[in-house]
Each structure stands twice: as C-alpha cells, then as structure tokens.
Amino acid sequence: MSDASINASTAQSAGREDEASFGDYFALLKPRVMSLVVFTALVGLLAAPVPVHPFIGFCAILFIAIGGGASGALNMWWDADIDRVMKRTKGRPIPAGKIEPGEAMALGLALSGLSVIMLGLATNVFAGAFLAFTIFFYAVVYTMWLKRSTPQNIVIGGAAGAFPPVIGWIAATGSMSVEPWLMFALTFMWTPPHFWALALFMRSDYDDAGVPMLTVTHGRRATRVHILVYTILLALLAVGTSFSGIGGPIYLAVALVLNALFLRGAWRIWRRDEVMSEADNFKVERGFFKLSLLYLFLHFGAILAEALLKPYGLGGWS
C-alpha cells in the first residue's frame, strides 16, 4: 500500500469520528425485544408435542430471533423521524447519528432474507414462511401503515410480537393447532394494557411525536377504561388456558395469582384520575407496567415448566 493511500484512508476515517461500533449495529436489532421473542419462541418450541433435536431447536430459536431483530431494524429505519423526537428513543443509533437510515434498512432486509431462508432449511418451509409473514406484519402492516394512522396501533401491532411462540410450535411440528394460538392470544391481549400504562406516564413522548396513541386521540380517561376492559378479557383467557393442552396445575396457580394482581392494578388505574396520578408521579401506572413484564414472563415460564415436567408424569392434568 502506498503512503498516499494510507493518508487518504486516514483522512476519510477522520471525517467519520462518530462511526458506529459493532454494538450500535446490534442495538438496531432491539435486543430487549429480541429477548422476549427468544423466550416465547422457545416456550412454543418446547411445549409442542414433537421432540426437536437440540441443535435444530437452537438454530430455530436463533433464526426466529434474527428475524425479530431484522424487523426491529426496519422499524428503526422507518421510524427514525419519530425516534428523534421521543425522549425514550432519541439515543437509538439512527437519531444519534451513528448509523445512516439506509444502512439500517439494508441490514434489516438482509437479515430478514437470511433468517427466513435459514429457518426454512433448518426446520420446515411452513415455519420459514410464517416468519416471513411476521416480519412483513411488523415492518409493513404495523410500522409503516397502522402505527401512525390509528389509535388501535398497539392492539394490531401486538399481534406481531405475539407470533414467535406460534413460529416455535410450527418449527417443531410443521403444523398448526389450538395451543400455539392460545399463547399468541396471551401476548396479543397483554400488549395493549402493557403499552397503554406506559403511554399514561410517558405521555409527552407520544404527544410530541404525533403518534395517535389512545391517550392522545380518545383521552386519558378512555385509556384507563380500555386498560381495565382488556385486563378483564386477558384474565379470562389466561386462566382458561390452564385447562388446555399446555396448561396444568402449576400454570393454573401462577395464572390465578398474577391475574388477581393484574386485575387489582387495572382496577386501581381505572379508579384514579389525572390529579391523583400526578400527585404521586404515576406510581400505580408505573407499578402496573412493571408487573406486566413479570406477568408475561411468569405465564410463559409456567407453560414451559408444564412442558418440561410432562416426560416425568408431573406436567399437565394427566
């Protein structure tokens, strides 16, 4: 290499001092969301009545996670303008100026293709196709279309986050049945109260970004009512799942305790008004949001426990 080329590359590198690190590219994949995807997909895979080779199971979860990450990168590319405005998201790699939006799109598209093809090859074509549909649903239907056009964005967008256990189940069995859809429904019904509680105490964020959250379009009172209604429906579904093929006594005990707590939280949110909430800096709403994280984790953990104990004659009702 000549001195001239060394000098040229030094000059070029000096011009991009904010150049992204590997971690910044990884952050585009929304690792925290990915951890939820990994866990729920793993539960779907292990709760299925067909044993999976451990290495193939590992690959299936990995490619589902990469697919979820790819849709996260596409979401960050499309939503870069909103992310710049919101306090919660302005540190993300694109608004922070570390990564160009085009790079995020390229990474998202490349990883989408890779994850779908590899999941199809590792498990079955149905699972690959379903992963492709999930990425399309999150990136196009939710991010590009519904997020900015309807206050029901969270309800419909929640479906995208609810698909991973179904993909895990299909990866194991190559077919569909009612149980993975119960896991889907659990996450689907959980998402609105979870996000609306967040919207109640992060209100200026969504207002500033102009995202039509329920709090903005229908008011905060309506949001509190919606949280209560969804929580009641969720509780019925969650407890009812106890008596399905993926339920059992452990799951029932967990569901009864958690849903009682969740209903109590939703009831308290419904009873409060803005004056009360602002007086204690949204203590109840924040508590409900934290509980919602534990809620989903423990429900899926209980389904996993039932599945893992089945071979020893302990899981399920039999």
């Binding site: 030094t10 000096a14 991009r16 001092e17 590997f22 590219y25 290495f55 193939i56 990995l62 590792a122």
Partner: protein, 53 residues
Amino acid sequence: MSLRQPHELHKRRHGRNLGVALTLAAFIVIVFGLTVVKVTRGDFEPPRDEVSN
C-alpha cells in the same frame, strides 16, 4: 511499530471488524452443524423404493 498512535476510532473499527468476523465464523459453524445433524439423521436419504430400483 506503527507510524501513528491509533485513534479511538481505529479501536472501534477493529472491534467492528472482529464482530463481523466472529459472526461469519459462527454462521459457518451453524451451517456445518446443521448439515451434520441432518445427514446423520437421514434427512437427505432418498426414499426406500428409489434405492431398491
């Protein structure tokens, strides 16, 4: 001996290159592992009647 002291940017770039290298290496291991598992399980074996003909 290097002509210049490496800039923080160079360390970051090195980290990124290393990350890409490790990711590619992991991908190779995964594809190889999948191939081994599928071949040893007999996923690629032709149907029995085809073998007998």
